[in-house]
Amino acid sequence: MDSTNKGPILSHIPTFYHLEAQLTHAHAYTDSHLLSTTHSLRSRNPNLSATTMAAVGYEYEDGLQSSVDGGIPYDPSFVPDPVKSFVVHLYRHIREKNVYEIHQMYETSFHTLSDRMFKDTPWPSVEAVAQYVDNDHVFCLLYREMWYRHLYARLSPTLKQRIDSWDNYCSLFQVVLHGVVNMQLPNQWLWDMVDEFVYQFQSFCQYRAKMKNKTEQEIALLRQHDQAWNVYGVLNFLQALMEKSSIIQILEQEKEGLEQFTATDGYDYSGGSNVLKVLGYFSMVGLLRVHCLLGDYQTGLKCLLPIDISQQGVYTSVIGSHITTIYHYGFANLMLRRYVEAIREFNKILLYIYKTKQYHQKSPQYEQILKKNEQMYALLTICLSLCPQVKLVDETVNSQLREKYGEKMLRMQRYDEESFALYDELFSYACPKFITPSAPSYEEPLVNYNQDAYRLQLKLFLYEVKQQQQLSVVRTFLKVYSTISLEKLATYMEVDESTLRTILMTYKHKTHSVGADGKTISNADIDFYIDDDLIRVVESKTSKQYGDYFLRQIVKLEAVIGDMDRIKLE
């Protein structure tokens, strides 16, 4: 099989032809009603489509093995009636742009059917269902996207399937980028596409990095398909979706009232399609996540800049996207030592999850929500141990936190090996699944390197913790004094005066981060300054906000006076 004819390899040919070639090579389906009629994408080259059809054709041997165990053989070409009805209806709703029905079928029916009929087998093959949906190639791409997602969630994909899924994403995104798709899909689905795309990339990197137990066949396949899930490809797809959708300009214009995006949750109510725009939007979150997986926190946060996370937005319209965004945003800020920012956002999302999680109990994402919830409590614990700004945390979140990590947090304040081990434990539990993006070396004795990226990030994080561990000792003293001489404090801390000066300067340096604009931001919970050899501690009191209160009372009073005036007249 010639792999070089697949994926986005043909993208050097002019757009229109290129798109056609993409589609014909991917699937020989005659046409799609989900593309605007101005771009009728009929396959005019039967030779090309015939050969590529064969190239892309499913090979089920690998995937079959797992399902055969169950006793009932899996026949990919058998389409049970409920599935027939499912695809027929879903296809109709997509053609009619009935977002509500699409959402119902996507969120509910698909999972109900999966639970009932495909608990541990894949769904019927796309070739088998194509006849029920006019062989519509765009629908078939969507179907395959779901097909693989289901496979990844319930079974373990083979290398061949991983590569085929990559090819399917390439075809799908190419259609969105270069075609004029005529669909309106639920945000949930569009988010899941981006989310799954990044997940499968991460999963592929992890899989590839376990070189030790690879068979010769697998290695040959990996070498042959070195473009599959290539990091450049993944990043460039996300970037291209973001750019082609002009989402950054749309968000800019929205601020000036020239465009509506957030107000309509990204949907297009004037007959257009939301697909490219919303995919472009979610791609920014996808880029944040990929960069975090690579350990590039600065660039990750930069990708998210167009989204104002202090406000509600399309990213909050889907719980999974909301959580993913804040989890990675908070984690990146933690690694950049902007603890206050991380604490604020973790606090907000944890409160939100606490208040709303009951509504998601039946959602297929519920388990994932709970897991991320727990991980973010662990990250919040880390942040608060390094920067004890408990007053930033809501009482509800705080009581949850104390319940889960109260005892650990106390021990993390100490300056010993055990506290160190706790930082290690919480970080390892809560960090993203870091990846090594480069291809393995096939030559040497094969070694696993799937832990390398994680170990590096952990090591550097613990390095930071070590640099800060003496600060908690300083804190305990600063808390109880308003003024104290350097000499006295040095005696209490059992260090000499010049060491104490370095510790105090370290405290200042570590509690003052450099913000995105280059300005110094104080994260200090307790502040002090040194006047010659006297330390003066400044208690940071939380002053009550009277301004807003008075404003509200003034408006209220005015309303009451207005009411009274009217009563007098009657």
Partner: protein, 275 residues
């Protein structure tokens, strides 16, 4: 063979004929620029000299902004690192982009360039740039002797151990002296940390932090007295005291409490009442 991988395949998605950015121009390294490296990154210069030419040179920052995931720009980014060293400029984003490309294709990594990036990152203290770079450099590369030294230096700076820092730096001059402005940059960082911490600081503490004594120290202090508002005072019995200019970190009472600020749109709510 490398070119058959990422760039050709994905290049068109990003830099191809159809414009992916709104103004329709795609910065890419044009042939004309390549022939004329001296004006390669000078946007305005090129613009003035050849205003009618459609292919203009772009700054590396612009290249990075438009082609953040294009391996073809790797040599340009490497040149740019050297340019930052010789012209004493700095771009974290461009350097992170280069480290990212190294991360994707480790076989193309140049340890010398990485060392330059790390030294530049040290000079950017108090910003966390050094860690940001380390996050992207594989552990086995960090085992290299010169990187180990830089990591130790970073540790001393992060923990304000200036005495140890300068001792270690003196031992590693061969690594550091290739980057002009290193000493001054670290001295600036030291002054920054001192200013966060002290209202009044003994002259000897300043001397140790910036690694100066005698005449050069006098000059340094004089310069800051003249330009940064330092005041030198005589302390009883001991040496001199330097009074550092007030800022919100060494005079916390200067900090504007965010609680005191009321946004304008809240005030507009009472406009009808006031009127």
């Amino acid at each position: 063979m490398r070119l058959c991988k990422g760039p050709l395949i994905f290049g068109p998605l990003i830099t191809g004929g159809q414009s992916l950015n709104p103004n329709g121009t795609k910065p890419h390294i044009s042939a004309s620029c390549k022939q004329n490296p001296s004006v390669r990154w000078s946007f305005s210069k090129m613009g003035r000299e050849q205003p009618s030419q459609s292919q203009m040179a772009y700054t590396v920052e612009q290249l990075v902004a438009v082609n953040p995931y294009n391996p073809d720009i790797l040599p340009d980014l490497e040149n740019y690192v050297n340019e930052q060293v010789s012209l004493q400029t700095y771009s974290l984003d461009a350097n992170l982009c280069l480290l990212r490309l190294y991360q994707f294709e480790p076989e193309r990594m140049s340890t010398q360039i990485v060392a330059h990036i790390l030294i530049k990152a040290l000079m950017a203290m108090p910003a966390p740039d050094f860690s940001l770079c380390l996050f992207l450099i594989p552990e086995r590369v960090q085992m290299d002797e010169q990187f180990k030294t830089l990591i130790v230096l970073s540790h001393y700076l992060e923990t304000a151990k200036f005495r140890q820092f300068w001792d270690e730096a003196a031992k590693s001059r061969h690594i550091l002296e290739v980057v002009p402005g290193f000493e001054q940059a670290i001295q600036e960082y030291a002054v920054h940390v001192l200013s966060l911490t002290y209202q009044k600081v003994p002259r000897s503490v300043v001397a140790e932090a910036i690694n100066m004594e005698g005449l050069s120290l006098d000059k340094f202090v004089e310069h800051h007295v003249a330009n940064s508002g330092w005041i030198v005072e005589k302390a009883q019995g001991k040496g001199q005291l330097v009074s550092l200019p007030r800022n919100e970190f060494n005079h916390p009472e200067l900090r504007r409490s965010s609680a005191d600020i009321i946004p304008l749109d809240h005030i507009t709510r009472i406009f009808p009442v006031l009127g």
